[in-house]
């Protein structure tokens, strides 16, 4: 929010805008202490001719003086402030800072510990299933899949013949006759 040009911005000539409203606006727009000597002299010169601005300037000076005194008193009171912050709060904070690394790791573990532990347990179980249990079943499957092992060839030879279907037998007989 802007309140129009001010003395400090130097965007206008004092003579053009030197009216009651503007002088009062300048006084309200910035702390009196922040105005330069030249600015104050200009305001004083105008205030000497304009009663309203003179009163406003006087009140602004009073206000600034009161605030200064109020601040000074507050600063003096602060010197005897309760040492609670120095002794307790800041000490606790320094202690926390000094153990920062361990503190942050423990905090991390508190938040993610359960998740990490459950993930580790699951991984271990999967590892057991992957390497221990499937080794027996794999051998069995291999034995079943390979029908030409030594045992099956030597011992089960007749069984293979017995396992021929009637169609196969008839086909083999008639095929042999036809060849003749």
């Amino acid at each position: 929010m802007e309140y129009g040009p001010t003395l400090r911005e130097g965007s206008f000539k004092l003579g053009e805008f030197m009216n009651d409203g503007h002088i009062i606006e300048i006084l309200d727009n910035a702390p009196l202490a922040s105005l330069s000597e030249a600015e104050l002299q200009t305001i004083q010169a105008h205030s000497a001719e304009c009663q309203d601005c003179g009163h406003a300037f006087e009140a602004a000076q009073l206000s600034a003086m009161l605030l200064q005194e109020r601040t000074s008193e507050a600063a003096e009171s602060a010197l005897g402030a309760n040492p609670f912050f120095q002794t307790r709060v800041l000490a606790a904070w320094r202690e926390q800072r000094s153990s920062g690394g361990a503190w942050s790791l423990s905090r991390l573990w508190n938040t993610t510990g359960a998740l990490v532990a459950s993930m580790a347990a699951t991984t271990a179980m999967l590892a057991v299933f992957a390497f221990a249990a499937p080794s027996e079943t794999t051998n069995q499957v291999q034995a079943a899949v390979v029908p030409y092992s030594a045992e099956s060839v030597v011992l089960d030879q007749e069984q293979d013949d017995n396992q021929m279907t009637n169609d196969q037998v008839i086909g083999a007989v008639y095929d042999a006759d036809e060849d003749k």
């Binding site: 602004a60 206000s63 008193e73 507050a74």
Partner: protein
């Protein structure tokens, strides 16, 4: 006390100074909001010492030097003038005009925008000035 109780909420983000300042600012504003606010300052609200002080100072031209007793009276009178302001306006005025803080610094401490700080300071300055004008009998 609040800072000590809320130490865990700090969590190392930002500066410790800023965190403490924000807690102190909010606590003070809450206290001031709960306190009764004087709607207007009239001559009958002032003590005899304050009325005499105002009379003497307003009739003095040139540099005004205050002795220890006058400084105490001035501080009390300032407190009464500040009571007519809202806590937020009072804070802005005290920080900028009293302590010499910049608008940016006040915005940082309070969490307000710079525009808001300027408006509050402007309004507070205007109200304080007008109140004092009335008290010294320059304005009806």
């Amino acid at each position: 006390m609040k800072a000590f109780a809320q130490m865990k909420s700090f969590a190392g983000r930002g500066s410790m100074e800023g965190w403490l300042t924000r807690i102190a600012t909010n606590t003070c504003l809450n206290m001031l909001r709960s306190a009764s606010r004087r709607p207007e300052l009239v001559t009958s609200d002032l003590s005899e010492d304050e009325t005499a002080w105002l009379e003497r100072v307003s009739n003095t031209t040139g540099a005004r030097r205050l002795n220890a007793e006058q400084k105490v009276i001035a501080a009390d009178l300032a407190e009464k003038v500040l009571e007519i302001l809202s806590p937020e306006d009072r804070l802005a005025l005290m920080m900028i005009d009293g302590e010499g803080a910049s608008v940016n610094e006040v915005a940082e401490v309070t969490g307000w925008s710079e525009s808001k700080v300027k408006v509050r300071a402007f309004r507070a300055r205007k109200r304080a000035r007008e109140a004092l004008e009335k008290l010294v009998g320059r304005k009806q």
